[in-house]
Symmetry: D2
């Protein structure tokens, strides 16, 4: 069984901790290096940060001494959970130095030589890497995954491309863990809703979705022509971003065809039986009041997107609810799935 | 100063308690009669139910002996906060017996001789009453207000009718008080979202809005032709229903014209300076993260709808957020405003 | 591997669902029978109730047809998650008919021939069963576990009996799942605290604890002489009852001796390596802000009680915080542990 | 009507905003000066911070230009809502310069020449001021109020001093607003409890209570000899600290005598009919599930402490629940009451 050493950039943060949790007992990857800010460097991980997940912090990771987030002696493969305020420079430094950076940060997502991956949807976008090194002068590479608010929507839309996606409207109800730690103040969100998420959240939904759903055309990704309108809100939920979605088609199918498309949808991760791949990336729930974050976000270790309530939309064609775990399927989990895919495709 | 005796049907329920609170110290109306189920009848109100609002229960109401919800010695004007499972028969009995029922229940809202009122929008719909008694053979009358999920949307749309409302999509994030008491189980909603509200909530949004915005035409209301699509969800908020709204127009105005339309909007309640009328039914908030239920739902004693985040919508024309207090502006408060309007129009 | 058929009384309720979840894939017990109210009888379990736990409902249980809660063709061993309003008669009927009832209900807990068990503490109380059948004229038997609010406190105290427990004060902060379903209305608990729990919760803490900690003396349990004062409150937490505890001793030890007593505490379930036994019934957490229900209640599948913040108490001797999962360690899980113990002791 | 100009130190913080809210339309005090950190200085208050209270920010305060927190042209009387990390130096600078600082910060509370006031309890402690200027060499003075967790407990105990207070145990369930803004991360508290509050919260309860209840003896305060044990926890409540309290007496009265003592308790603020004084500082609620923060914290504009559930305690003598609004009665409101008292006593 291959044991591939990996590092984690931004190890003390919300996504960093989720990387550690998900890589505990991973069959292929072994966390041997943790990078964080100067403030944490030099301390045992256990002392550098408070562990904030219910699952126990594994002892071997707890004892790792955190290093500064610079290439040096980091392993070749590093996962990045860095905040976007620092990810630009640090990830570039790692790519320059020959590392493969599998990043959850937004900084390079829209770079036209950087794959923006949900591997069930666009595994073939990895071919963008062919021209990345030349374009940037890097010895290494960067691969990214989308913003957490994008995942459930995009996975729900991908199987429907066959019907001619024309337009989509989504209102998201996003969990507080999506804002990292300390993130949202309890003063602001207890018993409340905040109808705004900073950092260009709505723009990310509108641009990233189009790139992920786009076609490769001569080594470039042609963004999908779908018109997208997003309203993103914050709600008092710990984990799980919900989307209230309406979609319009060029050739509107009937509801049965949509359900079939979702139920039969699989991608490269399922073909290759990757360790983190759920059996079905999408599960449709027939109860009229589902999906719900508290009940459904953790399905299949948080890697399955659940959908429910498909019904006609008087304005567009159909409406439905979709839900995904924002720090697993929407961040650390999908990044690990990207790494697993690259390993099996011989790209590590 | 006129002192008009009024009764409250369903006095022990969530909306009934709000009626009591809002009528305490009302300049015109004096609560002298409380009707509820057999289980409560014969008890002092204080002993018939637990008072569940932060404002203190007034002593004089606390001492009233609850009567069964039947005409008998009730005052001529009764407010109804009855549950729809019983409102149909009971309100009919009161109308038969010559009472004016100002009702929050859904049972008669879509009856074509019953006004469905937001008095700033459609005060003239009261003329439907002219043919109500003949049509039903009642000695009294019934006037209704819309479902709590409808109010913020409909008030936001009303001033925009001049631009040719074509289509609207709304996702609501509704407070738990909208489900009455005991209503939503904490097991279901703590740290969660329920993407479904029973009792035909989405249909109500789609049908009631069209009636309220409709034009009188020869003593009938012609429903507004706008196409409406609603997704209604329940969130862990005590009071205040939020709507994430997109709207399409026949003749799309610019954003400034929409803001002007909202800011200058007033109706009969403002003209008549009714006691429960807010100075402006709509207030636009310029902060980018507003309105929020915890901060804005109680504005002007819960009678003002707040709107924010107006911006272009890539799919329809504009999108924005609107918020209203569901048990005040969306239930007891608007019913009282209806009664005040009728008093000043000589219809009590 | 033995496969023992078991039934569940009150299968549709909050504790009943937890029994089903915990018995899925149990190495010894196989759920073949579900009993519930008349309303549910005759329906497939899937249709008889909404499944309200995040873990998926196993298909084989989903298909079981619910029967009325009467002996008839139920297996010999039945777990009871019945509400106390009906448990008295139904459990008696099962005991009369020769069944072994392993019950979470309060009705027979204080019966002097019924063991009230936390098996790490008082496994020897099973000898009460010797005279139970004669005393009641039953062909079968009843074994009980304590109220969910009692478990963390009693497990924390048990290892300290050696120091002469004199008095204890506890304020509990109890999760809403302890009230069953629908249980606590969200209207009452969202952003709130209810400083009262009905049904004699505080008395249960004071009486059950003394019985569990009591000594067998000539086939009777002599209640422990400790003086107990409890204040029980409800908080907006899904799972996990927290206790803020102060304890006074006859011979006050130093803190180190208390920590040692907790850390080395094991009981018959650990000796016998029972399937549901956690490695250590008590785990002391050294972080100054733990235990916390959201992070610690699920430790070791919810069977471990976590303790923290041991420090001197100016009024009694020491104070600390203890936490246990109320529907697992405090209800279904401890009942299953009781059954496992009885199986290994040859008492099934 | 006297118009006394006052300033607010720490105006942008959680307590600072509450000062502004409570002083809007105050009959005696007029806010003309706001001091905050360098980052805010020079901006209109409206632009210096986000207003986070439901009540509207008054326009005249919104337009005030924030100044640096230094004496200069501040009015003679300043309220301080400063964080303790900076309050020590800044308040000293104001006292040096001749200002009267009415402070909510902890820094000078235990100074033996500084009154620590709940004016219904210890108005006479103002005589400590007689030797404050000489002791410190200040031209001005400092008066303080206690920590927010202390107020409900201490008000509940004060009327019981006549029975010989011997010992008290309290577990607090404290609202998140007590931690200021941004304060507690939602990640930490949503659906959770944190059984620890930093900054020496439990020590404050134990020491401040003894000083407030203490007797003046020759120009010094002799701390009350009561033995106090506190466990302080954080819960997901917006406003209102609840205490679960047991108390032991030298000469235990019966319950009726305790209720009488609470119901008849009044102090100098009531005698002088101060603008912010509630009619009764303590109100006993007879419902068995009260007080509750969501229903009772705002009673009498947040200035009344509510108590409930008085009953015997098996360990000490009596137990009960007490609740107070932490940022009003426990911070800004009590500070304003201190200022009102000093004005009427001729000490401004």
């Amino acid at each position: 069984m291959p044991q591939i050493e990996v590092g984690i950039l931004g190890a003390t943060g919300a996504v960093g901790q989720r990387f550690i949790e998900l890589l505990t007992a991973h069959p292929w990857f072994n966390v041997t290096w943790l990078g964080a800010s100067e403030r944490s460097a030099g301390k045992a991980f256990r002392d550098a940060t408070a562990w904030r997940l219910p699952a126990a912090l594994p002892d071997d990771v707890a004892r790792l001494v955190v290093e500064q987030a610079a290439p040096g002696n980091a392993p070749k493969v590093v996962f990045s959970g860095l905040d976007s305020s620092v990810a630009g420079d640090i990830e570039k430094a790692f790519a320059d130095a020959g590392h493969l950076v599998i990043s959850n940060a937004k900084n390079y997502r829209m770079d036209e030589t950087v794959p923006l991956m949900i591997p069930e949807i666009n595994a073939e976008h990895l071919t963008l890497l062919d021209r990345q090194q030349a374009a940037h002068g890097w010895k290494g590479r960067i691969v990214t995954n989308p913003n957490c608010s994008v995942i459930a929507l995009t996975l729900a839309l991908a199987p429907l491309r066959q019907f001619g996606l024309k337009s989509v409207m989504v209102t998201t109800l996003q969990a507080i863990s999506g804002a990292g730690y300390p993130g949202v103040a309890s003063w602001d969100i207890l018993g409340n809703i905040i109808p705004y998420i900073g950092g260009g959240e709505e723009e990310k939904v509108e641009t990233e979705t189009k790139k992920i759903l786009g076609c490769l055309s001569g080594n470039r990704v042609e963004p999908h022509p779908i018109v997208i309108s997003a309203q993103t809100t914050r709600v008092g939920v710990q984990n799980g971003h919900t989307g209230s979605i309406s979609v319009g088609f060029e050739h509107a199918p009937d509801a049965g065809a949509i359900l079939d498309a979702w139920r039969t949808f699989k991608g490269r991760p399922q073909e290759l039986d990757l360790p983190s791949a759920p059996p079905n990336p999408i599960v449709y729930l027939t109860e009229q009041n589902r999906p719900q974050p508290a009940l459904d976000a953790n399905r299949d270790n948080g890697m399955t997107v659940t959908i429910g309530r498909l019904r006609p939309c008087p304005v567009l064609d159909f409406k439905f609810i979709a839900l995904g775990h924002n720090t697993i399927r929407g961040a650390a989990g999908v990044a690990i799935l990207n790494a697993e895919l690259m390993h099996r495709e011989g790209l590590l």
